[in-house]
Amino acid sequence: MISEHLPVLQVVVPLLAGPVCLLLRRPSANWALAASVSWITLAIAVALLVEVRRAGPIIYQLGGWAAPWGIEYRIDHVNAFVLLIVSGVSAVVLLFARASVQREINNRRINIFYTGWLLCLTGLLGMTATGDAFNVFVFLEISSLATYLLISLHPDRRALSAAFHYLVLGTIGATFILIGIALLYMMTGTLNIVDLAAHLPPVAQTRTVAVAFSFLVIGIGIKAAAFPLHMWLPNAYAYAPSAVTALLAGTATKVAVYLLLRFLFSLFGPGLSFEQYLLDKILLPLAAVGIISMSVAAIYQTTAKKLLAYSSVAQIGYMLLGISLASVTGLTATVLHLFNHALIKSALFMAMGCVVYRIGTTQLASMAGLARCMPWTMAAFVAGGLSLIGVPLTVGFISKWYLILAALERGWMWLAALVVITSLLAVAYVWRVVEVAYFRHRESCAEVAEAPLSLLVPTWLMIAANYYFGVDASLTTGVAGRAAELLFGAAP
């Protein structure tokens, strides 16, 4: 009986747990609730994915109201996969969060923190699960507001300005999305995405729909931190509490890219998106420029967290690149990289969280010779860095493989070259941290010890996932390939 309600439980469980968390006054109880809820959502996500792979898309009508009047949750290969990413990253990072948050956040605010976390999770999962365009906006606001809160909870004052910056840009993005949805509603009289797609063709040639398209793409682009709309991201990532950075890096931008896929392919359809609005022609150069410039920017950062943040913007460029190739292989690369990059970046940011736990900063200058004092932490960074670069047997390699394959499929040798050259830029910025940590001299390790096991174990768990899914990629490539076919309409 429960099993048929899984799609809504996925969202409702963390939503209900959020306020409860606020009432609990003991930090350990807050954490225990958040972690157990997060693991339950992970279990639900796994069950959903298994079910979707077995029996195809699941349609769930909220309160039994049939679409298009009622709200409909529609779980197919694409969002089942994203649900798995979001709940998985949150579950592992929460294991990490207990010690990290205790160190970084005022004790009296810990219940607010975990409430924010659960609401953020609710929003992200809801955006992914729902099949209703307005519902997307609602959940987007929930997750965004929770995120502003989470970032600003860091005691560093710069976190406040970073959160405010994000708030301003994020609100603009959300408003754009709302305008886009409203215009579509105006033209078709429906909000259900499947229904919208059916009603769109007769009015597809109108300027209103074109305007709606632009608003949506730009609005989602801001949330996804797509170059050149990424300005909020580096500071938000750099000054947020370590656990929040790990969560956001693995989930927030990924869900935004998922939304982009959903709107471009399921709602407007590839024909309209690419042939009429020529989005691929716009996206391709922007993605290419974004990848190169952000990788170069990453090389010149002096803080490891910021360096990784710029790298994130570059990596989002890879996902957009996959979209702009407008082929099933390209889209497979995008969906794969959603998953793979979530694993890579959350692992790396957790490693940086270990560093912050011990030395309070990720300034490269303060990290000199750190590998001698924190060998396991820095080894985790190297292992994650290799994955970021795309060395074989890591998930990063699988992403690059498909991306280059897609480029070659189109006969674009230069694009394949671009991907490998930017991988080398990744070598350069990963190397900067490695060189500082391993080869600079450090006076002594008297004050700095290895991070506690409660931080190391989740970090290494995520690293292990990087290698497990890099060695045996049959699950991820299978789901991503199927998802790409579904989105492209190549499969029934």
Partner: protein, 486 residues
């Protein structure tokens, strides 16, 4: 035991050895025993594999990464030869490095032996790879595992050398080799090493030279100019590392890969018919001569040997680009012959350093009289590198000449001849100065003062090996015959 099981054991043994070495880190004698036992075991395994009558052609799949793309092992003549050479010389190098590392009181010896064992495991993976993907994985693993060895000294110079080493090898392999790999995959739908190649009819003839160039430059370990700088840079490593890794494992992994690609990805017939190799052939010839000329001007002994290696590696690449059965045979033989000769030369350089702390050639006048065994071995190995009978090196040069003649490349025959002269010019002066020049400064030291026994014995053995290879080249020839498709 099946061939597959032996191959997996060969991969696993050095890794287990690495763990054992790490565990015994605090007790040097036990640690060195672990190294030696592992080395002997590994050699036994590879030898058992070579001696088996029939080879199982079926690859053993370890894990399937993507549909059709798996980590898989297969025993194949070229790989067997490479594995045999690398594992055999590892035993001698282990003995030698015990003498060298203790003689020099080097620090971090445990890390050194662990990385050494891991590098050998990666080499075995390269040798037994059943497809290009597996080979690529172990190729990269070899780069990463040898990096701590190159930077072993930990000073600024070592760090600089290490950066060049890692930078060049990684950037060529990711920048070119990976692209070539994916291109091949997208065209042929497979990366399995298949007799006769997998690309026939799959890719436009006019694109073949480009793909070939991506492969040849991408395999940075083959040190084809202009991507050879890492090799001299890596000479900051302790000499045993230079000896095994940069005369045998790493560089040979490079040219081994080149031969594999030529024979099993492209297929020599396809290359000959389409004449796709001519550009790379000229580059190899240039690399061959230019590196010899640079070697002539180097006064540091290890640097001279390093450039000599660059030049000798180009022989293998040249053999591959000739795209004839004999050319490939010459290239394959060169892997074994040059390994035996060059490791002797490096052992000698290391022995001289341990005994006298001299690194520059013009400081070494008259040393031959105090270190007669070392210098005699050096002389023999130098003759083998040059390619004079009765030494092993003459066979590889012989078959390369035959291959060039078969291919109708008279110019290449001339290149090979000129190169032999250059080899004489940069190698022979060293023993000549050692034996016949008077030692400068200090009075002629009385009697024999050799390096520790653990250093001298291995180099005498490898020098003797060069002689033996001349007389017993036939088994190797027979082993390799299948790769020429005859």
């Amino acid at each position: 035991m099946t061939a597959g099981a032996i191959m997996q054991l060969a991969l696993f043994t050095p890794l287990a050895g690495a763990v054992a070495i790490a565990v015994c880190g605090r007790r040097p004698n036990l640690r060195e025993t672990a190294t030696l036992v592992t080395a002997v075991l590994l050699f036994g395994l590879v030898a058992a594999l070579v001696l088996r009558e029939e080879l199982t052609r079926e690859p053993v799949v370890l894990v399937e990464t993507l549909p059709g793309l798996s980590l898989a092992l297969a025993a194949e003549p070229l790989g067997l030869l490479f594995a045999l050479v690398a594992s055999g010389l590892w035993i001698l190098t282990s003995v030698y490095s015990i003498g060298y590392m203790r003689g020099n009181n080097e620090s971090n010896q445990t890390r050194f032996y662990v990385c050494f064992a891991v590098s050998i495991a990666a080499t075995m993976g390269v040798a037994f790879a059943a497809n290009m993907f597996t080979l690529f994985v172990f190729y990269e693993a070899l780069t990463l595992a040898t990096y701590p060895l190159v930077t072993h000294k930990g000073n600024e110079e070592a760090r600089q050398g290490g950066r060049t080493y890692l930078g060049l090898l990684l950037s060529t392999s990711i920048g070119f080799l990976l692209v070539a790999l994916i291109w091949t995959w997208s065209a042929a739908g497979t990366l399995d090493f298949t007799a006769g190649g997998i690309l026939r009819g799959k890719i436009d003839d006019s694109l073949l030279p480009w793909l070939l160039a991506l492969y040849f430059f991408g395999i940075g370990k083959a040190a084809l100019m202009p991507f050879h700088r890492w090799l001299p840079a890596a000479m900051v490593a302790p000499t045993p590392v230079s000896a095994l890794l940069h005369a045998v494992a790493v560089v040979k992994a490079g040219v081994f890969t080149i031969l594999k690609v030529t024979i099993y990805i492209f297929g020599i017939d396809l290359l000959r018919e389409t004449d796709a190799t001519s550009a790379m052939m000229w580059i190899a010839a240039f690399s061959l001569l230019a590196a010899s000329l640079i070697a002539l001007r180097k006064n540091n002994l290890k640097a001279r040997l390093a450039y000599s290696t660059v030049s000798q590696l180009a022989y293998v690449t040249l053999g591959a680009t000739l795209a004839t059965a004999m050319g490939v045979m010459g290239g394959a033989l060169q892997i074994a012959m040059h390994a035996m000769g060059k490791i002797t030369l490096f052992f000698c350089a290391g022995a001289i350093y341990v005994a006298t702390h001299k690194t520059e050639i013009n400081d070494m006048d008259g040393l031959g009289r105090t270190m007669p065994f070392t210098y005699a071995a050096f002389f023999i190995a130098a003759l083998s590198i040059i390619g004079l009978p009765p030494l092993g090196g003459s066979w590889s040069k012989w078959y390369l000449m035959l291959g060039a003649a078969d291919a109708g490349q008279q110019v290449m025959i001339a290149v090979l001849m000129v190169s032999s002269l250059l080899n004489i010019a940069y190698l022979i002066p060293i023993p000549v100065r050692g034996f016949f020049f008077a030692g400068s400064g200090e009075p002629a030291s009385p009697g024999v003062r050799e390096a520790p026994l653990a250093c001298v014995v291995p180099l005498c053995l490898t020098a003797a090996g060069s002689v033996l290879l001349f007389f017993y080249a036939d088994p190797i020839y027979q082993l390799l015959l299948p790769i020429t498709g005859q």
